[in-house]
Symmetry: D2
Subunit: 164 residues, 4 copies
Amino acid sequence: MENKLRQILDHCIDTGSEKDLAALAHVLEGFQNKIDNDYTQYIDGLLHMERKIDKEKKTCEITVPLNAVWNNSLDIVHGGVTATLLDTTMGTVVNAILPEGYVAVTNQLNIHYIAPGIGDTLHCKAEIIHHGSKTMIIEGEIYRSDGKKIAHATGTFFIIQKLA
Amino acid sequence: MENKLRQILDHCIDTGSEKDLAALAHVLEGFQNKIDNDYTQYIDGLLHMERKIDKEKKTCEITVPLNAVWNNSLDIVHGGVTATLLDTTMGTVVNAILPEGYVAVTNQLNIHYIAPGIGDTLHCKAEIIHHGSKTMIIEGEIYRSDGKKIAHATGTFFIIQKLA
Amino acid sequence: MENKLRQILDHCIDTGSEKDLAALAHVLEGFQNKIDNDYTQYIDGLLHMERKIDKEKKTCEITVPLNAVWNNSLDIVHGGVTATLLDTTMGTVVNAILPEGYVAVTNQLNIHYIAPGIGDTLHCKAEIIHHGSKTMIIEGEIYRSDGKKIAHATGTFFIIQKLA
Amino acid sequence: MENKLRQILDHCIDTGSEKDLAALAHVLEGFQNKIDNDYTQYIDGLLHMERKIDKEKKTCEITVPLNAVWNNSLDIVHGGVTATLLDTTMGTVVNAILPEGYVAVTNQLNIHYIAPGIGDTLHCKAEIIHHGSKTMIIEGEIYRSDGKKIAHATGTFFIIQKLA
């Protein structure tokens, strides 16, 4: 496996543009984050997520740096990356307040895309709209580094028992 | 940059588990895909997307292999990855039928998550619900390799003129 | 109560315009429908709903005549009336196929408004996207009498046990 | 027309139950409201809407009394009535702040149903999430008289020029 990995990297270095290699560095550093910090999801590392949970206020905030690797063909953040940031932040709120042995899964997610994702970072905040016994409804918003809101979402999360 | 990249890879190889390195290989191969095939989005490469556009029927289908790197902490496909696959497939339909000089951006996306994303591949199909002059409404569905539907989405796409 | 009803009607007749009285006739006829046909919901009567359930195909179709009473200030069908027609048709599909003792409630409803509701009638069709053990996802569409689609919706319905 | 109206009312009085006639009184009083107050929509009258617009804060609040006529077969408020109240309150915010000559139409509406609509009244509040040049995103919430939130919605409204 080690040789295979080194060969692919060499191939990328030989054939990729300067932009490609900068993007690749971002991805590799993200992967290293995951390993070093023992994140439970690779995606948290890949996106360089910095997470702040406030259990009392029942909120979560996640900040990610932007990089060309997450852009779409219009060179703005891909809508799926916006969705990933929202789903993660919103799901984190739910999981942070659930009692031991319970876990949340996304049942439905509705996203309004408001402005292009550009700039240095995206900052996502999530909070609870409704806390039921079987479902929670969560609201999430993403802001750019210039303060502009780029997305607003609401989602339904199902509360299920973890398998032993 | 080359040295930096090699150092990070060495660090990952030294400190990562077998599972980590398999996941890393998937990501690096995906990155190489992007470079080799000159994809317009890194994400298309990273997710190993195989795309089939039918301009006559106005549909798009994209298949991606699953890999632990795209899973959430429950070890099923992250909802954001599902969203990325839907948004890409749905946006591709719109862009495939727009005349030269026009491009589509996602305005709103509503996703129903139906079943866990597990197995070998995910297969996404998208088709047009409404083709207006300023907006299009697109429907997308994702199926697992065992045939089970895992997600259903509808989205509004805005049609805008490309900047010259 | 009888006198009160007759007094209000007299007041409406005395002070209403011709348009008002035509609208009122539509509402009163709808109310009479409810009584004569022993509908379970007043709304079914008020909207003059004609319902066709196909238990085998698991679909429901409802047609309603249009009338100024259901219009908004732009003189097109109010978005809430469109929603009422969708929710009823979609919920009817679910309830038609549930076993005795179970009932469905709307958990979430997402509606795309596509074209103005004008003309003689609206025709709504609903079918199942996903039939789970605890939830169903239903799709609904509304067409005008000239064949134009005016709305598309998806909704999550929760399956619950009827109270004895 | 007058005779026809009186005949239908007589028929309802002769054949309807006490519950039917109380429901009919609510509808007729609502209709009279529309005529007396010269509302622009019949629905505002029928639902006995009491509206409060705060142009500075850019919010709108509407309260409606509950009545069996708006219930579904489970004897709770019909989801379409909830949607009507949300759509009206949310649209009123948009129209209240648009300059002369412009008007808003609902493009998309996503509703989370949280708790059964029961009790004396429903109180809906709407405020702006995003104010763009061509679209607005509005948030709406409905509370029962006992303070419980029963629904949360977000919607996209298109801003269009009024026809001369």
